[in-house]
């Protein structure tokens, strides 16, 4: 186990190096000159030159790369080019808003999908099953944008059940007042595709011999479904959750844009609009690290849910 962990962590190093190289060279070769972005439209050449010196842009490329690596390691990305807010501060203040929205969405959508997927898989082949399949295919083909536009219009603007958009400083007010509508819309939209996906996970298990044996020896249906089948279907479910987890930290940027939630996703999106490179670079690098860590944790979790899994 320990040797497995060590090896996996060591394997992360080349990938992380690759991410850093990719981000550095992408912005180096394809990005605008940072000094010109920072200097603004009316900067004099000597001003631009002094900014270049300050940022170390006149140093040779290997040295600039080293400066970039230093930024990654020390979390010191300096200040946003657009607002002069420190990048570390942007991350620490925007992340809670994203989490306030995304954690309820993740918990609700996974919980509902497990129940709904199980139910649909149990009545496989019936009219209900086929109806759910058809509805989820059609529902999936409508853009997410449409659901948010219409949901916001009907529930907030027309019916006035929720505020149209907004955010406050108190976590409780946010959860109680501003989060319900975005969470509701996101969960409803993800329900159809998730049910479809989880149905296949459960179907793979329900045809297995151990299910038939359990039925033969008279185990209650609920015990079979929620103890035997669910535990065995846990591996694909965990994998699915793991792929969604990094997104939890960026937040659903569309939801954040629509509902004016000051989260990380909206921050990165506005940074794209204002060519605010440090924010984009920092988000990309750290989210990549987070993704790798989550993947490792998921692989370890496999062992916990299924003792048959052997680490090689």
């Amino acid at each position: 186990m320990l040797s497995y962990l060590t090896r996996r962590i060591l394997q992360m190093i080349p990938t992380l190096a690759g991410v850093i190289l990719l981000v550095f060279f992408l912005f180096k070769f394809f990005g605008d000159d940072p000094a010109e972005i920072l200097g603004g439209m009316y900067a004099r050449p000597e001003q631009i030159e002094s900014i270049r010196n300050e940022l170390g842009l006149n140093k040779p490329i290997p040295q600039q790369l080293w400066l970039f690596v230093e930024k990654v390691v020390t979390f010191n990305w300096g200040h946003s080019w657009a607002t002069n807010e420190s990048v570390a501060h942007i991350f620490s203040t925007r992340l809670p808003a994203s989490l306030t929205i995304m954690i309820p969405i993740l918990l609700l959508s996974v919980g509902l999908a497990i129940v709904a997927g199980m139910a649909v898989a149990y009545v496989r082949g019936s009219l209900t099953d086929r109806a759910v399949m058809v509805i989820s295919t059609v529902a999936l083909s409508i853009s997410f944008l449409v659901y948010v536009i219409i949901g916001q219009y009907i529930f907030a603007f027309r019916l006035g059940w929720f505020p149209v958009q907004g955010w406050s400083d108190s976590v409780f007010t946010n959860l109680w007042k501003y989060a319900p509508l975005p969470v509701l819309i996101a969960v409803l939209v993800s329900l159809a595709p998730d049910t479809r996906l989880y149905r296949t996970f459960f179907l793979d298990e329900m045809g297995q011999d151990y299910v038939r044996t359990a039925r033969a020896k008279g185990v209650a249906e609920n015990t079979i479904l929620f103890k035997h089948v669910l535990r065995n279907a846990m591996i694909p479910i965990l994998t699915n959750i793991a792929t969604q987890l990094p997104g939890v930290f960026v937040g659903s940027f569309l939801i954040e844009v629509f509902f004016s939630i000051p989260g990380l996703g909206r921050e990165v999106y506005t940074a794209v609009g204002r060519s605010d490179y440090p924010v984009i670079q920092a988000a990309t690098v750290y989210l990549a690290v987070l993704t790798m860590v989550i993947n490792l944790i998921t692989d370890v979790m496999y062992k916990l849910v299924d003792p048959r899994v052997v680490f090689k």
């Binding site: 853009s143 940074a271 989210l287 990549a288």
Partner: protein
């Protein structure tokens, strides 16, 4: 069965080779299976109709004049009927009596005649603005039907082009990694790990930040090609993985070794011998990508990171529709949604049918 046949034929093998019944190829078998699939054929018809529409729009037969303001602002759809709004018909009483003659004090009076003459030489065309349009009009009175057709052309072309681009990169790299193995494979696996470590939405944003405003924007222009390139670079990893696995499976098969024996080069073995045998995987992935990329293009265009502002796509229509909906003008939203949902549903169903038809073992 085949053993019997070969036994009978064996003694006169040389003479009867041309007489052997030609076994149907992968593609004709798939086509036979697809034809039996009613849902698949239905969706194929819808997809082909859309593609014809796209071609017609591409060559300017339909939707070419989407920018003309042919109706009154927010002209409602014909089936709803013209606006019965009293406030727009408020009458202002015209002043009574003849105009007072000012010509003796008016310093410009001597020149009025000359100006009238000049003005009469300029032709002005008064267009009658329609009060209703088939699917309504937008804020500027442009025909939503033309817009949605033009938007279909842009969205579908971008989706298909990006899918082809991503499939091309993924297939090429996957073939190289799977066929050669060793160092090439290690390097490409590393590249794959790097690209998949970055959440795709952040990679998309990073590339959008560079391609939309960086120096590349000046060479590539603001056209739709940047969107195609961005989506292609972000999306190649999925198909790379599948093709690599297929090539690993195929590279040591007998037919490939036979090709090696008759002196086929690596390149010819990779793309002439193996590729046709894995083409069904490529095609299914390609069509999955088309659906995914059309949706991605719509979202990018909505956010203003997609097609340029002088073009229309389903995404820009949705962006306009968001503010229109608050005013109660729902038709642009409805038109874009219905068109997109129809095409994407048909394409998704066709993809399912294709997968079933191409790979009967999958079921």
């Amino acid at each position: 069965m085949s053993a019997d046949a070969s036994l009978e034929i064996a003694p006169v093998a040389v003479a009867t080779v041309p007489a052997l019944p030609k076994s149907p190829g992968v593609w004709s078998q798939a086509w036979t299976r697809l034809r039996r699939d009613r849902v698949g054929m239905g969706s194929l018809v819808v997809v082909v109709l859309f593609l014809v529409l796209v071609l017609l729009a591409q060559f300017g037969v339909v939707g070419g004049d989407w920018q003309r303001e042919v109706g009154t602002p927010f002209a409602p759809p014909t089936f709803v009927g013209a606006i019965q709004d009293e406030s727009e018909r408020a009458v202002v009483d015209a002043p009574q009596g003849p105009n007072i003659d000012l010509s003796d004090v008016d310093p410009l009076a001597p020149r009025y005649k000359e100006w009238d003459e000049r003005a009469s030489r300029v032709k002005t065309a008064v267009t009658v603005k329609a009060t209703t349009l088939p699917l309504g009009g937008d804020r500027m009175g442009r025909d939503v039907l033309s817009k949605v057709i033009k938007g279909a052309q842009v969205s579908i072309l971008v989706g298909v082009a990006a899918a082809v681009f991503a499939t091309f990169i993924g297939t090429l790299l996957g073939a190289l990694a799977g066929y050669f193995g060793g160092r090439t494979d290690d390097f490409l696996e590393w590249l794959y790990n790097v690209f998949t470590a970055i959440p795709y939405i952040l990679l998309l944003f990073a590339l959008a930040a560079l391609f939309k405003s960086g120096p590349l924007a000046k060479t590539l222009g603001q056209g739709v090609w940047t969107v195609v390139i961005i989506l292609g670079i972000v999306g190649w990893t999925g198909i790379y993985r599948l093709i690599r696995a297929e090539y690993i499976k195929h590279r040591s098969r007998e037919y490939v070794r036979a090709a090696d024996a008759i002196g086929a080069t690596n390149l010819s073995r990779m793309f002439v011998h193996i590729l046709p045998n894995v083409s069904h995987v490529v095609l299914v992935q390609l069509s999955l990508y088309v659906v995914a990329f059309i949706k991605a293009e719509v979202i990018l265009s909505f956010l203003g990171l997609g097609v340029p502002i002088d073009m229309v796509s389903w995404g820009t229509m949705l962006a306009e529709a968001q503010t229109e909906l608050v005013l109660g003008k729902w038709w642009q939203l409805a038109a874009a949604t219905v068109f997109m949902a129809t095409f994407v549903t048909a394409f998704a169903l066709l993809t399912d049918a294709l997968r079933d038809a191409m790979d009967p073992k999958l079921r």
